[in-house]
């Protein structure tokens, strides 16, 4: 018997343009799927919007306690409502950054669909990126709602370059997505009990200045505790976004946090991809790819 010739069904599959088209087609497939699945739970979507409005309203009333009490040391907190809303909007986005990738894997594992998805000629990284796309679309929408409701109902004003703020958001999300890849690797091997989600989720809210200025950590908890905030990328991301949107600072003034985020990205991106590759190989070796 003779060997079969290698037959490439799509001869130009690996050519640059075609692979981009294929990637976009696949991302679209996941987006359409997730939109349809979300639409099959319309009430949940609607209730999320209502809950954001309730949260914004609650913070509006809390902010009224602090009228006239703003400490001049904390320039970003002159309007506490604006600081909280940017903090909440950005935290929501960051949380998506590091949790959606692991959730994408876990969701498919629990539904039992991961195996059938992985039977198609699609790489696992593409599956993870594509299946978290809808999470990012939703996060963008809900984060926008925090800012929009503040502007529409409670007279919150933003200034500065939205493009620069967007650059910060994008960069921080990419850094957090690297941590998300580590988290996804953990989910692939250990299935449950992801430490990244626990530490970064609660840690970001506490140490990144979402609800209060990070300087207060030094004042009340000491420099050792406050140093935690300095190793969290979300601290730099949030600081940069607030400087731009609330203080109206330009590129030259926010260069430092931008550089720190770039360093985080340069270190974490190759490391997380390396860990992820090892996790996939391990799961395939153990035959536990679809277990949860």
């Amino acid at each position: 018997m003779k060997r079969a010739e290698k037959t490439v069904l799509i001869p130009d599959a690996m050519t640059g343009l075609y692979s981009i088209v294929l990637l976009l087609r696949r991302v679209r497939a996941f987006l359409v799927r997730d939109v349809r699945l979300t639409l099959s739970y319309r009430m949940q979507f609607f209730l999320r919007i209502v809950s954001i409005l309730i949260v914004v309203t609650t913070f509006f009333f809390i902010s009224k306690i602090f009228v006239g009490f703003a400490d001049p040391r904390f320039s970003q907190w002159r309007d506490p409502l604006a600081a909280w809303l940017t903090g909440l909007a950005v935290l929501n986005y960051f949380m998506t950054g590091f949790s959606s990738l692991a959730n994408a894997i876990r969701q498919e594992q629990m539904q039992g669909t991961l195996e059938s998805v992985l039977l198609t000629p699609i790489s696992l990284p593409t599956v993870i990126v594509a299946s978290s796309t809808w999470d990012f679309v939703q996060a963008t929408f809900f984060s926008f709602l925090y800012l929009f409701f503040g502007w529409l109902f409670f007279d919150v004003h933003y200034q500065g370059s939205f493009l620069l703020a967007l650059l910060f958001l994008l960069l921080t999300t990419m850094v957090l997505a690297c941590l998300g890849i580590l988290s996804a690797s953990f989910a692939m091997v250990f299935k449950r009990g992801d430490p990244f989600g626990i530490f970064l989720g609660t840690g970001s809210a506490l140490f990144s200045g979402v609800f209060f200025p990070t300087q207060l950590l030094t004042q009340y908890a000491g420099s050792a505790v406050s140093s935690i905030s300095r190793v969290l990328p979300s601290t730099y991301g949030l600081d940069g976004i607030r400087r731009v949107l609330l203080e109206g600072q330009g590129f030259a003034q926010v260069r430092d946090p931008l550089m720190v985020l770039l360093v985080f990205l340069a270190v974490l991106l190759p490391f997380s991809l390396w860990v992820f590759g090892r996790a996939v190989r391990r799961a395939k070796r153990e035959g536990s790819l679809i277990q949860y």
Partner: protein, 357 residues
């Protein structure tokens, strides 16, 4: 391993190229975090050896059966071929692509249909599910829609296209699974119990479809895993019997039966009105090779025995019955089935396990 050289099989497959080559595949599922468990002196189950040095080849357009008891290694082997599990050693080549190094290329060549219902999105319709997977395969919108409608019509579930997957019957879910495997028109189909939940008519139509896939047009190579041995006998050119992770036998169903057992079982039902006297006379004339039992109905009796092809036992039995005045009602010869062959290997396996323990 019992291997049979059969000239007919050889000649039938000689001219066809090899579509699938499984070369000395072994798979042992390792113990997770073994070092840690040893360090903390935690108990752990020994590693599971799912496949041991498995080798075979499947020709283009061949329907190849894989049978064996539960836990024999069928699913592991299928998953290795579908690139979902990596072998511990050995290699699998699908249309010339290596299943580990060129896994994406392999997945372009292979469609896998399992009886696993949870592999679909239950809140999406049948059509939406297929469209999602068609896009993952890289099919364009128009081509995907046409392909989906063709497949749904072919599997006679076109009218259920817009129904949610969760609302479909088990049989229709299974048809959809096969339709999904065929979406990208793969040259190799891995079918895991494709007729398990189908009614007899639908199962027959599915078998006809599988047969036509391998014989018509661009001939599809099929690896069929099934517990329905009649189905395997009907469809497969060659069958591999797998047990305890090893290929125990590999040949055409006919050859497997012949090598396994040369004999056939003959059962003669006859009417004897002579009562106990006639029974005693018959027992006197027939030796211990023959088994005589009273049938459930009235004065009917059953005479059963094993015979080699072309021996004179059947003639002797018929003569004796004729001389005793019995009226022969029916004569049935039963050849060994794949079930018998499988059972014999299972028995052999338990004997081996018994001798090892």
């Amino acid at each position: 391993m019992m291997s049979i050289d059969s000239e007919s099989i050889e000649s039938a497959t000689r001219d066809r190229a090899i579509a699938v080559s499984v070369d000395h595949i072994s798979k042992t599922y390792p113990v997770s975090f073994l070092r840690l468990k040893r360090l903390f002196r935690r108990r752990f189950k020994p590693p599971v050896e799912a496949l041991r040095d498995v080798s075979f080849e499947i020709s283009e357009g061949e329907i190849f059966g894989l049978i064996g008891p539960n836990g024999a290694g069928k699913t592991t082997l299928t998953k290795i071929m579908a690139t979902l599990v990596q072998p511990t050693s050995g290699s699998v080549s699908i249309k010339g692509f290596d299943s580990v190094r060129e896994d994406e290329d392999v997945r372009r060549q292979v469609g896998l249909a399992t009886a696993e219902e949870r592999s679909f999105y239950w809140r999406l319709s049948a059509e939406e599910n297929l469209m999602f997977f068609a896009r993952l395969y890289g099919l364009g919108e128009a081509a995907a829609k046409k392909r989906i409608h063709d497949l749904l019509d072919r599997f006679e579930i076109g009218d259920l296209a817009r129904r949610r997957f969760g609302e479909l019957s088990t049989g229709n879910k299974q048809r959809l699974a096969v339709a999904r495997a065929m979406l990208p028109s793969p040259p190799i189909l891995l079918l895991d119990e494709p007729t398990r939940s189908l009614d007899p008519l639908a199962a027959a139509r599915m078998r006809t479809l599988i047969k036509s896939l391998a014989t018509e047009g661009a001939r599809v190579t099929v690896l069929l895993t099934s517990h329905n041995l009649l189905e395997v006998e009907e469809l497969c050119e060659r069958v591999a019997i797998i047990g305890a992770g090893r290929i125990r036998a590999l040949d055409s169903p006919e050859n497997l039966r012949q090598v396994h057992t040369q004999t056939e079982r003959v059962e003669i039902i006859f009417s004897a009105r002579g009562g106990t006297k006639q029974e005693a006379e018959l027992r006197h004339l027939l030796n211990d090779d023959f088994e005589l039992t009273a049938a459930v109905r009235g004065d009917e009796w059953v005479l059963s025995f094993s015979r080699e092809p072309l021996d004179n036992k059947l003639d002797s039995a018929l003569n004796v019955l004729h001389e005793s005045g019995a009226v022969i009602l029916s004569v049935e010869a039963k050849r060994a089935t794949l079930l018998d062959v499988l059972e014999s290997y299972e028995n052999e396996e338990s004997r081996e396990n018994g001798s090892h323990s």
